[in-house]
């Protein structure tokens, strides 16, 4: 239960959001008009919803190798988001399958465990939902509910081992400081299978691109689950529970689920039913960041297709480009390897010696053999849209 003071702080935080967003109309990447709004500390982002704040990165913000904190997308489920005081923040660790309870301050978290970093894509499960055909309800994201960042913190595993993990541990449950407004609304609480929680790569991060985590991206500490969709990356982390049973909260049992067996991604066995199962890893995907949609170039002018490719952690082996209606494909040059959880830049020069339209299609291939499909796998949540995308350019 919130104290009166906490409610006041939370409400004040919400008001701060109201007061400083400065929406204005601008041309979005899809060619339509998008509402732009700046949250405190952020540059103007595409405003999908003001409260809870859901803001996506405009295409230009996804062009750099690392996505700047000031344009990194923002996604919340609940309207009450306190500004957490890092000096007073505590992380509670416990649960029926933990051998002892811990209460860690930010200083203790930073000093008692080895500091590690990982470059990883953070992508909302519903990224591109707004591009689904037929349309699916939910936040109507285009391509920008994602970004690539260097996350620094400590291994979740090291913290769990300090608490002691009992042999019967099945799931680890995570809660953050954001809370519902109405008492009946389910709090946003998520769980991970014990093996993913104990994986080397899963972090409790307190830095993003070398800076303290921005408020809107989970200050003072958040979960980082490389390769898995953003829904597991709990922001403003306050509580970790190790338990011998499957967590049965709304956000695990009813939301963020995909048809069982529909995608070749990691299983989450303790949460699976014959009908559906939680979304887990990201699927192989790519994004054309340049040329911009419907760009025009002069005949003979240099033209490069550039973009990013990523997957759930197998790593990208190739990105192919077609300019003849997907009949033949050429391999693009890949950029720096940032590790298997970061995205991979690609680039290919294109022939502009003839006038007319060019349709540039791009598909990425993962080290596990998966490639981007031509057909969408329908699912009610509108997840995993990794269709081959096409940019159209006019040469004149």
């Amino acid at each position: 239960m919130l104290t009166r003071r906490e409610v006041l702080c939370a409400a004040a935080g919400w008001l701060a959001t109201r007061a400083s967003a400065e929406p204005n109309l601008s041309t979005g990447s899809a060619g339509g008009e998008e509402l732009l709004g700046a949250l405190p500390g952020k540059k103007p982002l595409i405003q999908r919803a003001f409260r809870p704040p859901n803001f996506e990165t405009p295409l230009a913000g996804l062009a750099p190798l690392y996505t700047d904190n000031s344009v990194f997308f923002v996604r919340y489920h609940l309207p009450t988001i306190p500004f957490v005081d890092a000096a007073r923040w505590q992380l509670q660790v416990g649960g029926a399958s933990a051998q002892r309870k811990l209460a860690l301050s930010l200083h203790e978290l930073k000093s008692a465990f080895e500091k590690v970093s990982v470059t990883a894509v953070n992508q909302c499960s519903g990224n591109r939902r707004g591009l689904f055909t037929p349309r699916v309800p939910g936040v109507q994201w285009a391509n920008g509910a994602m970004g690539n960042a260097l996350w620094t913190g400590v291994r979740l595993r090291d913290v769990l081992h300090k608490a002691g993990v009992a042999a019967d541990a099945l799931e680890v449950v995570f809660n953050g400081a954001d809370v519902p407004l109405l008492p009946e609304t389910p709090d946003f609480v998520k769980s991970l299978p014990i093996d993913r929680a104990l994986d080397d790569g899963t972090l409790i991060a307190f830095e993003m691109n070398g800076q303290p985590l921005p408020h809107w991206n989970g200050a003072p500490a958040r979960l980082v689950v490389p390769g898995w969709t953003g829904t597991y990356w709990m922001k403003h982390l306050t509580e970790i529970r190790v338990q011998p049973t499957a967590f049965d909260g709304y956000w695990m049992k009813s939301a963020y689920r995909i048809p069982t067996g529909a995608f070749a991604t990691a299983r989450f066995a303790s949460q699976e039913t014959p009908e559906n199962t939680p979304i887990t890893e990201m699927v192989v995907n790519s994004l054309i960041t340049s040329p911009a949609p419907s760009a025009r170039v002069r005949r003979g002018e240099p033209l490069h297709v550039r973009g990013k490719a990523w997957d759930g952690g197998a790593g990208i082996t190739a990105v192919e480009v077609s300019v003849d209606g997907r009949q033949t494909w050429r391999e693009a040059k890949l950029g720096r390897d940032l590790g298997r959880f970061g995205w991979r830049e690609f680039e290919l020069p294109l022939d502009t010696s003839h006038s007319g339209p060019i349709e540039i299609s791009v598909r990425a291939r993962s080290r596990n053999g998966a490639t981007q499909p031509e057909k969408l796998t329908p699912n009610p949540g509108g997840y995993h849209d990794n269709l081959v995308q096409t940019a159209r350019v006019e040469v004149s």
């Binding site: 409400a11 109201r18 007061a19 999908r48 003001f50 309207p79 309800p137 109507q140």
Partner: protein, 107 residues
Amino acid sequence: MRCLLRRALISLSATLLAGAASHVPSTQAAAAEVTELREGTGKDLTIGRCIICHSVEYIPSNAPAMNRAAWQKTIQKMKDRFGAPITDEEAKQILDYLDANYSGKSG
């Protein structure tokens, strides 16, 4: 108790909002939160109930994915799963408003 808490929270928000208006240009605050919905019977009720928990951009942005059955399902979910304080009679009025103005699903 629950209703009292709700009322308390809503009036608290309203009070703080009035306080905040003194040091921010009101046009900015208004432009940020208020998304106009189409005129029609049930508009005020719809806005009034929905904005307790979320701003109303969701309504026009989701219209292409919605028809009467989908709005019915959504309203039911807000009531049953999220605890939205909407009576059955109000739910019907909200459904009629949303269906008349924001059912854009083709087919």
